[in-house]
Assembly symmetry: D4
Homo-oligomer: 251 residues x 8
């Protein structure tokens, strides 16, 4: 809301009228392209730019939003993309980085490399089938500027796969635990580390998994402390929260 | 169905008529005391006698069923008893063994001590709050004739409480894992032993535990193999299945 | 955890340092092929080798895991395979045994025939539509080394289909009951036998079956004792538990 | 709607005006006692008089409705009564028949005995704990004029308790099957008889019974045909439907 | 169980031994064609022959069951058929009657026309979109031998569509009410007739219809009496129950 | 947000600084009494003053909020009050109007009578047991200034109770339909009137009513148009929406 | 029911007999085209003509209903159309207006332009992915004769997108708030306006959105007042209720 | 696992044998008091000591655990206490700090004051009824050593209550948002700050709140980023995660 303050200041100085102040508020902070109001102010307000959630949007809409963001010098990250959307983005922006497992695409507004944060995120997954969600988390966290170390397929059915890596995991500032089925990985790792655990339930599993409900409820009921939970299959959301924590640890 | 064969045999030998055979079938195998048909044949048929499920029965009904069983030389075990029911049983049968935590009562038809099976059941619980369910399981399994070793309060939040006991646990023929909240104990122990695990979800926990649904779904979705699940808070059911397995291992 | 003991022993004898002990723990018990940590220690630890859960894995990943297992002289069993995965496995391993109904594939590391256990599993299904789940159970139990006798399509709508076979069923060490719709088969058979019943709810049925929830809840609430339940459509899980019980009865 | 025809007829004959016709429609068929519109026309329209559903009504309201019905020469049946309501009715109407298990009260407007229908209803319950619901069904069906034969506590855990009575059950015109837990009784009996089965799920059972949901879903999914289902614990509803069928069989 | 009595009789007369009696029980009443035990005794036992539930069966299995039934002089009715199954049946049995809306096929074992019962079933549906379920009910009830009169698209949004037909509806022995969305049709019609109402919830409607759950719960909670409910979209089940009631009214 | 404009205006005129403007925003529009921020601006912003939701608040908190509102010349309406809270309010404010059925209390800041709106709300309830919710709606709507005409106990089991009143109902500007069980009243009345219907599901009914879920889903799925729904048992919410519509019809 | 009065009047005047009166009631108000009873009386009775709900209807049925309506001089609006249905309507009625995003088609019976109401509906959506539902609402409301102003993509993640438009929104007579995910838009806007808010939950979002359940429950639980809710994704229903309110504000 | 390393080191140095090493592992890290294994190692391992979850434990058990912790120089915090438990703790430890709203008790092992962290947690609640949960969060976070600033009763129905405080809130390192009903507070605040938001759904609200499910789902589906969620009413869990993040920001 830096801009609100600027406008109030200009008003105080008599540079604009109260009516003009009202008007400016509508214009400055988003770009209205009919179907979408692209939130250009978001990075200032919340620390990360707007990310395009691809599901339910047409390819045309996605490309227009991307264009608007790039024009305003915001980097572009799009998630939940269809095959067709990934191809169209690649065509439109040959520099775009596509991750077919994660179903993401990213385009940088500027060519310079982003400096990575020093602290790292430990990204654990319980099984190979959880990989699309885990990869979405990795791609997003790295896009925001966090370092990510992956520990895939270390579910609790073979506990030693986790405990043998625990020293490495403990060096992270925050842990992301991605697991389907009974989601026990989140509880077990939270009992072994001193940092916050962001748990991501996945929809992987047999019938009574009920599209991820089993893992979701399990993670919300973790008997170990320090676990908070994001939506089912929401690798992006976990990355976002984990990145904010990682940033915080540099503050 | 031994008795069916006897009746068919008598019929074959001409000792009874077909009509008489029909009649005998109604009489031999249960005692009809109006509100209840006490199943006297059950031990022969399924290996354990009928157990009185106390919930929803009046104290009067419970006492009548107990009396009928004892008259027929069956031992009595009653579960889910109210305070009032436990007191009334104690009054009627001073020899009765009451367990107030488990809410059970038992009366032996004969005075002789039951020989215990050699194999043992390892009974694990995740937390102190799970104790009523775990104790119901212990009381029932011992009543049936199994040896039970208890490992209480070894939930996965402090994994070493479990791993430090794992050698003892591995000596059992079957494991019962009682846990509320996220119920991860079942998965973790199943990944560490070679015997069947009977999982009992409990209704212990905060809101989204939904009266045990969280633990139930988690256990049904165990990523570790060899886990089968009984009803929420059903210590009795777990004891029954575990005892059958323990018996089987002596066969 | 035999290997843990070996390492501690070597450490005691001064053959390795404490740091080396730590290191060995990571290496010995699983093979890390990036996307998957193949659990080579599992047979020793839990009595059966790792089984490949095909759902959510790419064909490439499945083949790599299979290869890693075979290299380490573990037999391969894969479940929940797509058409494409079954074909690719057949192509890669002409000896592979494919079961299209069960959607499984198996490859033996060694050519010798496995000795079967003497005790048998009785595998009941309620209807013809439950066959894919029942067949998954059969294939898996036989792969592990159990003898399986099948009693298909004996649901309770025509009770005589079950009772006419009950003598055969009673000879088994453990019963698997596969049923959709109201899942009553599990309760009815459990009232007639002396051995543990592993119940498998299936997603077969009309609308309010809710993808197997009706049968799942029914089986968890069995009024007959000795029933424990695995996940919806989880023939594999039932086979695993039943096999452990069958093994136990030889111990 | 006999009365509608009468009014139309009077209108046709010029005995009343159209406006008067409108007016009469409001008055004839129910008695408005502020909080309640007592439906006096219901027996003519649907075959049975209005029954007072006691839950959520004050004792005062119940007594006023009863009084209104009796004044209009309708018999009174009230269900779901509190202790207090049962006592107040007994006080107000010493002739009232109270059933404390069923929580019902009935008062006859006339002293003459109702002639019973010849056909009978077979009323089965699975366990002793289901008795309050079964008794509600019995009381209501007898109140309406049906003969009822009770077969209590014949759940499928001991199948012979049911099969030994099957010949008697087959003589009924309709079967009511009351069961909690997994509710399998409905399916099993429906596979053995030629008449319609009205299934009543009860809220009896352990946790994952979810207040009767397990039995409800099971009964809706019956693999045996001829089963239709009423609400959980709704003995009254089952009695009503069964009585209509019984009446129909005399038509 | 007429055959049980015959066998007991032969045994009484010394015509067969007890062992032979046991043996005969397995053979007489169903035909075992590996994947299916075709229940040939069902018409005698429950009043209607076995109906083939097509969902989850292969076309081959369906044809084999049909053949077995016809060989045993049972008529064939199959429901929930795929396009492919309907075509294959037509090819195999050119006399087969296919109803593409209802997804059913029927083949008569004998050529003679079935005499229809005198009483009729009134079959109501709420909307045009409920037609596939309603047609399944019509086809099945007519197959069993009931007369059916259809009142389609008379949902409560336009009450006069129902009330204008009420005199016709009242002439039926039993009413089937098929409705999706809020399923109010069942309650409204039950308040206007004297016969039993079998309610069929359908999965027709917007999101919070939850695949028929909304209508199912509504129908189970009908404030009007005499309503019992079958599974979601289960036209067959409703037809079966309604036919039994219709038969009963001729007894 | 009139006050925002005033502050901006003062700022424009140089009467206050930008910093002072910020400060004023915190103070003007609510009164902070530690546990509660009483929203004094709400009537201006949304058309009705803040109403005290009594559930989960201590009696002390309720009285303090009431006092704060009255001090600021706002009328007081409190809902969901315990017995104790109603008594304490009566004691503190002898003028308070208490409705024990609705569990509400109101105190007017000024003595003058509120002018009623000319248009009226028709308030329908399905049964006597729905009265507490209906009365909450009546009390609230009248408090806000709407005229309310009540049509209680006119559920669809006796349709003539509704249709005989339909001309009166049609004169209202908006209809509130309060119903539990299957909630069909909302659909039926919406098919007969030209004005918006606000539907209130209640938790009245047998088991599968699931605390109002059945009626809630039914009302959301109304096949008749013009129905929108508020929370279960939320008479207050319905009154609020209906009053806004009634106000609107005077604009 | 104007026609009922006419018929009663004719009957009073002796112009028709009572029997004829009965007959006329069936004929006047709907057109029976076998599969559908087209409700021609609906505009008179409820203020808007019948709208064709396309889901679950064949293209042939839709075209026949459209034809019937047009023949009776009713305008046609059809929703939830498949691609094929939209094309067929365009072919049959080249004047038809198709909206592919909203999946609607409309055909006017007369060529004259409908006069728009003066009051307007403010139509808000939270995100671009909610557009199909929002567009359905817009098309329907405009079809009925309301003016609609759209404020798309103003979800609460960027609150300024909403607050910057709030003055425009406040000029509407009623607000429609379309939102998926957590549906907070409805609560936030209701706290800022004086008019009724019709909330439409959408099925847009990640896993634990459960097909719109999350937004549905959130909207039903709005802490801000004046919100009533329609079914998930039901843009049509919201438009209908909002239009009735808009009409009311002109009355 | 510092202690593991010490033991390995002693083993390496030959100070203990391998068998002794095994033994020590059991003893060092928890105190076994039969019903409970008090986890003394937890602070070292996870950063905070074990907290006593009072629900489901007897007063005696709680006191014994407290005593064991204090003996081992661990501070005591107990949550979810009954009235009786709070009184007994106060009696046993007169220094204990009891918070009756939060239902917590704490006892310090040492008398010295804990140094507070510099960063602060902003604790928001939506309404006065959410106070017990919010207070549990405040008490716990302060016990762990975090500074907490409370912003109570700033739900989105009166948005200015939140926005007027936003500058203060932005100074925190992490935000806890406690809200029942539709839980929109979490989304709205997350759209306005740059730090992680831990959302706590509460069970406050009307019927379709379903004991907190509505708020839980809403928070999991937040359209604003940076929100992660703990269990319903779990103030303790939120405090724990928030404290870990706050600690991290000092690292």
């Amino acid at each position: 809301m830096k801009k609100l303050d600027e406008i109030l200041l200009k008003l105080e100085r008599g540079e604009i009228s109260a009516a003009e102040a009202r008007g400016e508020l509508s214009d400055i902070s988003f770009a209205d392209i009919t179907h979408t109001k692209v939130d250009l102010d978001r990075r200032l307000r919340t620390g990360c730019g707007e990310v395009i959630y691809g599901a339910g949007k047409t390819v045309g809409q996605i490309l227009e939003i991307a264009e608007t963001l790039l024009k305003n010098e915001s980097d572009v990250l799009a998630t939940r993309l269809s095959e067709e959307a990934m191809e169209s983005i690649k065509l439109a922006y040959p520099d775009a980085i596509i991750n077919a497992t994660a179903r993401t695409a990213s385009v940088r507004a500027s060519r310079g490399k982003l400096p990575l944060l020093k602290g790292k995120i430990a990204l654990l997954s319980a099984g190979t089938s959880d990989m699309p969600v885990a990869e979405e988390a990795r791609v997003c966290a790295e896009f925001f500027g966090s370092k990510v170390e992956c520990f895939y397929d270390c579910g609790v059915a073979g506990l030693h796969r986790l405990t043998s890596k625990i020293d490495e995991i403990r060096k992270a500032r925050v842990v992301i635990a991605v697991a389907g089925m009974e989601g026990a990985l989140a509880s077990v790792v939270a009992g072994l580390v001193k940092v916050p655990v962001i748990a991501v339930p996945t929809s992987v599993g047999y019938g009574a998994n009920f599209c991820g409900l089993a893992a979701l409820l399990a993670m919300l009921n973790s008997c170990a402390n320090g676990v908070s939970v994001v939506n089912i299959d929401n690798g992006f959301g976990a990355a976002y929260s984990a990145h904010l924590i990682n940033v915080s640890s540099h503050g």
